[in-house]
């Protein structure tokens, strides 16, 4: 895999096309594994997409007593292996982003696996493909670096500086999800 997932929160328009598309991916059984949240609907319409950060030291995997959460050689954190998962839901409590969910009917955990069946061939996951505002992108590392640099410059030009107390007004506009 040569590409990374790149999120730019400020671009999100809250349409949840990523969630609808996630249901269409792989074997997701019509259950989305990414989420879109309002920062504070009372104040503004700012939303942000939330998907698995593919942590380098993923809490979900570390707290799994059954070692059911595998990490691929590219660093993608997979859903719990059906045959190993004991249904303890430690992973759902452990993740700081609330990504792993528990399917009580099937008695197993499911989470964003960065659409490994696609991304291992450098095909964009459906969420990133369809995102109409490009708040979610599947791009080269270099492209991500360039975007970050340009955005920083634009923020300077526009005089945007995060201040204490209004951090949500300038939510973290971007971060890459590394898989190397």
């Amino acid at each position: 895999m040569n590409k990374i997932m790149y999120l730019e929160f400020e671009r999100c328009i809250g349409c949840r096309a990523c969630q609808a598309a996630c249901r269409e991916c792989g074997d997701h059984d019509a259950k989305e594994r990414n989420y879109v949240e309002y920062v504070d609907f009372m104040e503004s319409r700012q939303t942000y997409p939330m998907l698995c950060m593919q942590c380098k030291e993923p809490a979900c995997a570390r707290v799994c007593p059954a070692n059911a959460i595998q990490i691929t050689e590219e660093g993608v954190v997979l859903s719990a292996m059906e045959e190993k998962c004991i249904g303890c839901r430690n992973c759902t409590f452990g993740c700081p982003f609330g990504i792993p969910k528990f399917d009580f009917e099937e008695n197993k955990m499911y989470k964003c696996d960065m659409c490994y069946d696609r991304t291992k061939h450098d095909i964009a996951p459906m969420c990133a493909s369809v995102c109409p505002s490009e708040a979610i992108r599947f791009i080269d590392f270099d492209e991500m670096q360039a975007l970050r640099r340009r955005r920083t410059q634009m923020n300077l030009v526009e005089g945007k500086k995060p201040k204490e107390g209004n951090k949500w007004e300038y939510v973290p506009e971007f971060f890459g999800v590394y898989s190397d």
Partner: protein
């Protein structure tokens, strides 16, 4: 093993045993390109894949687009004709349904004359079908009463463009050029929710430093990131546009050479806008003076700007004026007919553009001809093979047809691919009209709220079971492909028209065997008209990623950018709009002290007949609600989630409150995608624009009570 299709370096996933069929989304005017996944063995639709090589949308889809395929084989599809017996629908054969239609149509024509029948069309259909609806009404039924739901959606934009530019094409530029625009002025358009896939162009331009001005009573997602948000009071657009033009002239931002060479009425306009000082404009619109001044400076200083608008400014009794005034803003800056700049409206319905050009309007014939023009009547009669004397006269607009029902003039109605029981204003009047009809036929693929009133429901195919063309919001004519065979006994609309025509003794007028033959006839019908499609062929559409009309001959390249040299008016010059601000049809009174405005949410499309049947979309937004500023809510002691009763002069309804500061304090908002007791259009004002005959959905006075 999966197969990967590579085009332009981008891969699509094709699973074993599946094929991808390239087509376009069935919903809004963006007409996003997509691939539908079809199981090769069963021939069934199984999913969707992005289509990266479509230049307008580059694989982007909104949640409606992603789930659109789920309506094709939906369990609630109507699969056989239905006939109402003792108030209940029972399944019937096509023969039984057609017998009934023939018997009633002939009886009513005999007893009350040909105008006793009427046709209510829609523009979520292909160009071919839209063309046939006009021909069916006039040549087969011989009635003057035909109109369509575009009257609730696009007609003010059409009227405004006609007045200003002389031709009504929704966008004067191709949208991929928007990436290079320096300034967007967006009025009355919740673009992020109604046309989400267009946002990529806006954001791309913003990345390069483009400025964004949003005029809207709500802080819509685009307003959130705008340089200026002009939070105007609903119904005051014409004052704002006049105020903007006042400043453009005063500050010397007018492209004098362009205006002198290409526009009429400049001196009158100068006089007319003189009194719209920032102070006066601010008093009317409620927008702070400094915001208006800032917006005028940004707009005036941008080398390449576009003015974009949508239903927010159009669905008003002054909709045509609003469109003409906002278009004039762009003209003053000399922006129309140039690269990456111009004027555009966001088409609400899938084929809102094409559907209004082909003779579904009460006053129009194919190719945007006028029915009261004897030359046009002569030409189209020739194409159809009827005598010009047989061509019915001009009828009345969509809402006014219901007045004719009340007067007993219209006795029967055939509603095609439209759901006025939800989408028309003052819906209780519409429901009453349907009940008064002697006979009612509906062609649709779901049992819509309108279909429930019908005597006969004919199962039409969905967008994926027939082929044809549509015209997207740029004016680009594109191809819709057949993805699967018709479900059950459903039939394409053109076959339904053909069968009824045969029953009415006019079968010879509908000799078609497929959609392509209709397109070939339609090309000739549009030839020489303002919307000239003659040079467009299905092959060209394929090869050139769509062809822009007007395209008068096969060697003509089409017209991506309109008005490069001259406008469509008789003298080739644009008419600057000289119009004063006037109050909307209803203004707040002590009894109805607040303003109600309506609109869409991203999860639903029009009357919701399709999207309310998709699980994902319903999970996101199952019910309508009323959006309200916390300060207004505190007047009524309302908390988030409380229930309120909204009352207007027409009716009342109950809704849940959703509090947000992202709306004006004097305005409340309700989305309109639900039927029956959940239809906000029970409350809306049917006052019509004098030119476009479009109702004022966007402004009415309302009373709030806590329950």
């Amino acid at each position: 093993m999966s197969v990967y299709q590579v085009k332009d370096g981008v891969k699509n996933l094709i699973k074993p045993g599946e094929k991808l069929i390239t087509t376009h989304c069935c919903y809004c005017g963006m007409q996003c390109g997509m691939h539908i996944r079809v199981n090769e063995k069963s021939g069934k639709v199984v999913g969707v894949e992005p289509r990266y090589d479509w230049p307008v949308t580059n694989g982007k889809m909104c949640p409606k687009g992603v789930t659109a395929y789920q309506t094709i084989d939906h369990k609630e599809r109507i699969k056989t004709p239905l006939i109402k017996k003792n108030g209940q629908f029972v399944e019937a054969t096509w023969k039984e349904a057609l017998d009934l239609i023939e018997e009633n149509y002939k009886r009513l024509q005999r007893e009350h004359g040909k105008d006793a029948l009427s046709v209510f069309g829609g523009v979520s259909m292909t160009n071919e079908k839209c063309y046939l609806v006009g021909k069916y009404a006039r040549a087969v039924l011989g009635t003057r009463y035909i109109d369509y739901n575009g009257r609730f959606c696009m007609s003010s934009a059409a009227g405004g463009f006609m007045k200003t530019f002389g031709i009504d094409r929704g966008s004067t530029l191709p949208w991929p050029e928007l990436e290079h625009t320096d300034c967007f002025f967006m009025a009355g358009t919740n673009t992020a929710e109604c046309h989400p896939t267009s946002i990529q162009w806006l954001w791309k331009a913003k990345d390069k430093g483009a400025k964004l001005i949003v005029a809207d009573p709500r802080e819509v997602p685009t307003a959130r990131v705008a340089d200026v948000h002009l939070d105007l009071k609903p119904g005051t657009d014409s004052a704002l546009a006049n105020g903007m033009m006042h400043l453009l002239i005063k500050e010397g931002y007018v492209d004098e050479a362009y205006v002198a060479e290409r526009c009429n009425n400049y001196e009158e306009l100068k006089d007319s806008v003189r009194k719209y000082t920032p102070k006066y404009t601010s008093e009317i619109t409620g927008v702070a003076e400094e915001k208006i001044i800032k917006a005028a400076h940004i707009f005036g200083q941008s080398p390449k700007s576009v003015v974009m608008f949508a239903r927010g400014v159009e669905q008003q009794t002054k909709g045509v004026d609003n469109v003409a005034l906002y278009s004039s803003m762009a003209l003053l800056r000399g922006q129309v007919g140039k690269f990456a700049s111009g004027v555009a409206t966001f088409t609400g319905q899938g084929n809102g553009q094409g559907g209004r050009e082909h003779g579904q309007k009460a006053d129009a014939l194919p190719g945007y001809r006028k029915i009261n023009d004897p030359e046009a009547v002569k030409y189209i009669s020739g194409v159809w093979g009827i005598n010009p004397s047989e061509m019915p006269k001009e009828g009345v607009s969509a809402y006014e047809m219901f007045d004719e029902i009340q007067r007993g003039k219209i006795r029967a109605m055939h509603v095609i691919c439209s759901n006025p029981a939800v989408s028309a204003p003052n819906t209780e009047y519409i429901w009453d009209g349907f009940k008064k009809l002697d006979f009612m036929v509906v062609s649709d693929f779901f049992l819509s709220e309108t279909a429930e009133f019908a005597d006969v429901v004919l199962p039409a195919t969905s967008w994926a079971e027939d082929e044809g063309t549509t015209t997207n919001l740029e004016g680009r004519v594109i191809r819709i492909r057949k993805v699967v065979e018709p479900i059950g006994e459903s039939k394409p609309d053109w076959e339904i028209f053909k069968m009824i025509a045969e029953r009415m003794g006019k079968g010879h007028l509908f000799p078609y065997n497929n959609a392509r033959e209709i397109f070939e006839e339609f090309r000739i019908a549009s030839k020489g008209g303002k919307a000239d499609y003659y040079g467009i062929t299905w092959e060209r559409i394929e090869k050139e990623d769509g062809v822009f009309w007007p395209c008068p001959s096969e060697d003509h390249p089409g017209t991506p950018t309109m008005f490069k040299e001259k406008f469509g008016t008789p003298d080739g010059k644009a008419n600057l709009a000289v119009v004063k601000w006037q109050e909307p049809g209803e203004i707040p009174t002590p009894e109805y002290p607040h303003i109600l405005t309506t609109g869409r949410v991203v999860f639903h499309y029009l009357s919701g007949s399709q999207t309310r049947r998709v699980d994902f979309l319903m999970e996101q937004c199952p019910l309508p609600y009323v959006e309200m500023h916390p300060e207004l809510a505190s007047q009524y002691n309302l908390l988030n989630g409380d229930k309120v009763k909204l009352t207007t002069k027409r009716s009342h309804m109950e809704l849940e409150v959703r509090l947000t500061k992202a709306i004006r304090k004097d305005t409340i908002f309700v989305p309109y995608h639900w039927g029956k007791e959940l239809a906000v259009n029970q409350l809306t004002n049917p006052a019509l624009d004098p030119t476009s005959r479009m109702p004022e959905f966007k402004v009415c006075s309302v009373k709030i009570e806590k329950i």
